[in-house]
């Protein structure tokens, strides 16, 4: 993992939590990407989600056994996806600080396929990976993966939407 803001080829970016808040509309307790790295805007990227025992959802999932809900792992993957494509919008208008990427981030359109291989518990560091496919209109297919160390946690594919400047949910 590189701590440099810009990688060797000048195209891989790193976003810390503050920069991610600039890109996404999500906030605590629903912001699930602590850091994004090796981001190639509009194409792919990696993200980190450090799972602690203080996460609010562990209070109920479950009272006697802390397990990160699978749907929240999917949410984390989708948020990393949003970082990857929102960073591309940011690049398009590099000279302007006025770009409202958070307002353009759309919704989860489909969980096309997903398989969960391993429980995620407090202390785990989730490494997320997202690879965007070719967009069709406001819809983008994305291949996602989550792992802890060398162990695969979940793998699958999603469809995400982009909200047009005129609002709406990105579906046509």
């Amino acid at each position: 993992m590189s701590d440099d803001l810009i990688g060797a080829d000048g195209r891989k970016l790193t976003f810390d939590a503050n920069q991610i808040r600039d890109l996404l509309p999500h906030r605590w307790p629903m912001l699930f990407v602590d850091r994004a790295y090796d981001v190639i805007p509009g194409k792919s990227g990696y993200g980190i989600k450090n799972v602690t025992v203080s996460e609010p959802y562990f209070a109920g999932h479950y009272p006697d056994q802390s397990i990160m809900p699978g749907v929240l792992i999917v949410e984390a993957m989708a948020q990393l996806t949003a970082v990857v494509y929102a960073s591309a919008w940011k690049e398009e208008v590099a000279d302007s600080d006025e770009v409202d990427t958070a307002g353009r981030v759309g919704y989860l359109g489909a969980i096309r396929q997903m398989k969960f291989n391993r429980l995620v518990v407090p202390g785990d560091q989730l490494i997320l990976k997202a690879e965007l496919g070719k967009a069709f209109g406001t819809l983008t297919p994305v291949t996602v993966q989550a792992s802890v160390g060398n162990e695969l946690v979940a793998k699958g594919s999603l469809t995400v939407t982009e909200r047009g400047s005129g609002g709406g949910n990105g579906l046509q």
Partner: protein, 104 residues
């Protein structure tokens, strides 16, 4: 262009196989609750036809890339009119009727 009867018959069979293959792919990838054989060649895919929606279009785009190596772009939306229009698009993109197994 003159073609022999056998050539024309062969082409017609290849086209029919491809149409059925596309129907089977549609049913499988979209989880349609209809038998592939019952989808009409010219039946509209959206609205009152097969009742597909925009998320299904992306599914079809991905499925065509995987199974037929054909890329449908945002500019080719007319291809989503019907099975025949989808297959016309595939044939035009590949320059020939790809040979597929008649049955999945």
């Amino acid at each position: 262009m003159s073609q022999s009867y056998d050539e024309l018959l062969d082409q017609a069979q290849a086209r029919a196989s491809l149409n059925l293959r596309v129907k089977v792919l549609l049913v499988d990838s979209l989880g349609l609750e209809i038998q592939a054989e019952l989808i009409g060649d010219d039946q509209p895919l959206f609205g009152r036809g097969l009742e597909l929606d925009s998320l299904d279009t992306l599914e079809i785009v991905v499925m065509f890339e995987e199974h037929l190596s054909v890329t449908i772009s945002d500019d080719d939306r007319a291809a989503f009119g019907s099975v025949n229009k989808l297959v016309d698009f595939v044939v035009a993109a590949l320059g020939e009727i790809p040979r597929v197994e008649a049955l999945a």
